[in-house]
């Protein structure tokens, strides 16, 4: 038997139970730090940046096969798509003309009323590269991150409406929490009568709800809800949802309205990330009136 000088006669290490207790402590510490104080963003970001290239490599064959499948698309499909797009383009041209005149009019009116100019947002297009395999959150990962100038809190939209919000941004990717996540909400306005509401997710891709609705609130089936822009996160005027049914109060003093999201939450591959407004359109009133400048 070969002589092994490294092997000690007596094992000098902690026993399994005490090592386990140590690891459990570390895990609980991590859990508490992450859940209560969100103090581990750097660790998460670093590990994520390290994992990202690996995930890209793993996803590559799948993407190539998608590309190949997309190559053998039939003539009929192409023609149908083309017709559809042409129709949509004509429609958009008409609305665009309208928009130009409306924008000009809006600017004029704002100047007349001495209101600050409506903030403009430049969208950045991103691709959904991954969904998060978690039983809890409705989240997706997009392929734009801190390097591309994204930050947590930015709204994410698609061609049809609001999709969600960037909740974590890593160096190369970002995590978008979908509007349908239970903890996600958006301030909206009813297009018909301007009623301000808050739409929240339900955890299902098909439903959104207005939870604490006044019993006598004027909201009806078919109403369109657009972002109101009063939270300073979402720009105003993004389509969010359409009311599908309203429910009178039963056991609670509040009524509820169920809506269908207008944006393709969980459907599309490309989304646009908007830069949020620089300052909230409704600044908090100053605590004391500023002294008038002496003439």
């Amino acid at each position: 038997m070969p002589h092994t000088p490294q092997a000690p006669l007596f094992v000098r290490e902690m026993g399994l139970p005490s090592r386990f207790a140590l690891y459990v402590l570390v895990c609980l510490l991590l859990l508490a730090l992450d859940a209560r104080y969100s103090a581990l963003a750097w660790l998460r970001g670093g590990l994520n940046a390290a994992l990202h290239p690996m995930q890209r490599v793993l996803a590559a064959p799948w993407e190539w096969s998608q590309d190949v499948a997309g190559f053998f698309i039939t003539h009929g499909e192409l023609k149908r798509d083309n017709d559809h797009l042409r129709e949509e383009r004509d429609h958009m041209r008409i609305t665009q003309q309208d928009r130009q005149t409306l924008l000009a009019e809006n600017n004029n009116l704002r100047q007349l009323l001495a209101l600050p100019a409506r903030p403009d947002t430049a969208p950045r297009v991103a691709e959904i590269v991954q969904t998060v395999p978690s039983p809890f959150a409705r989240k997706v990962i997009i392929n734009r991150g801190q390097v591309h100038g994204l930050a947590a809190g930015w709204p994410v939209v698609d061609a049809a409406g609001l999709v969600g919000q960037v909740t974590r941004s890593y160096p190369l990717t970002s995590e978008v929490t979908l509007l349908t996540d239970r903890d996600q909400g958006a301030p909206v306005q009813n297009l018909r009568n301007g009623l301000r509401l808050i739409v929240s997710g339900t955890g299902s891709d098909k439903w959104l709800e207005v939870r604490f609705l006044d019993m006598h609130a004027d909201i009806k089936e078919g109403d369109l809800l657009y972002t109101s822009g009063i939270d300073g996160t979402y720009p105003a005027g993004i389509p969010v949802a359409q009311v599908v049914k309203t429910e009178p109060p039963r056991n609670t003093p509040f009524a509820r309205a169920y809506c269908r999201p207008l944006g393709g939450v969980g459907r599309y591959r490309h989304v646009a990330v908007l830069k949020p407004l620089e300052q909230a359109p409704t600044p908090a009133p100053a605590p004391a009136p500023a002294p008038a400048p002496k003439p």
Binding site: L31, L43, R44, R168
Partner: protein
């Protein structure tokens, strides 16, 4: 031929102990498989292959894997899930601890009997993650994800056979032949 078997395995039955490279490569492969872009509709059926391979090595190579590797793998899984840092790490450490404590017993069983012993562990890990997620207020749990544990139980036997082939471990002596 008197049918008597020697008490200690001899000859071809004596397998070389699994080396570190094999353990690491299989663990890494399992992690990669879970990281593949699986379809959304199948996510809740996807068993935690990383954990299964980890438990296999906990049983058959307890000197090479331990709580440290379980913790590191759990942390990586946590980052890919983006839920809570430390959630999967805790579950992995717990599962590895139980398996390592029962290692002497589990090693003597063949794969189907191991399944019976590990079923509670594989299912319990999913339940633990769901419960802790709920406890830390991460919204409503999707309880369908428990079925990932059931799939893991069903897959234990094939996986153990595959890893047996990879590690070159001979099959356990047939009980009928011994008697």
């Amino acid at each position: 031929m008197n049918g008597a078997r020697p008490l200690l395995p001899q000859g071809s039955e004596l397998a070389a102990p699994p080396n570190r490279a094999k353990v690491m490569v299989t663990l890494f492969t399992a992690l990669c498989i879970t990281l593949l872009p699986w379809a959304d509709g199948l996510r809740w059926l996807l068993p935690d292959l990383t954990l299964m391979v980890l438990l296999y090595w906990c049983i058959h190579a307890p000197r090479l894997v331990g709580l440290g590797i379980a913790f590191a793998l759990g942390l990586v899984t946590d980052v890919t899930h983006g839920l809570l840092l430390g959630l999967d790490a805790l579950a992995y450490c717990g599962a590895a601890f139980v398996t390592l404590s029962l290692q002497k017993r589990l090693e003597g069983f063949d794969a189907p009997r191991q399944t019976l012993q590990l079923a509670l562990l594989l299912l319990g890990k999913e339940a633990l993650v769901l419960t802790l997620g709920l406890a830390f207020g991460r919204g409503e749990a999707d309880w369908r994800y428990l079925s990932a544990g059931l799939v893991a139980i069903l897959l234990w036997w094939p996986l153990a056979m595959l890893l047996d082939r990879i590690s070159g471990r001979p099959a356990l002596p047939d009980k009928a032949a011994v008697e």
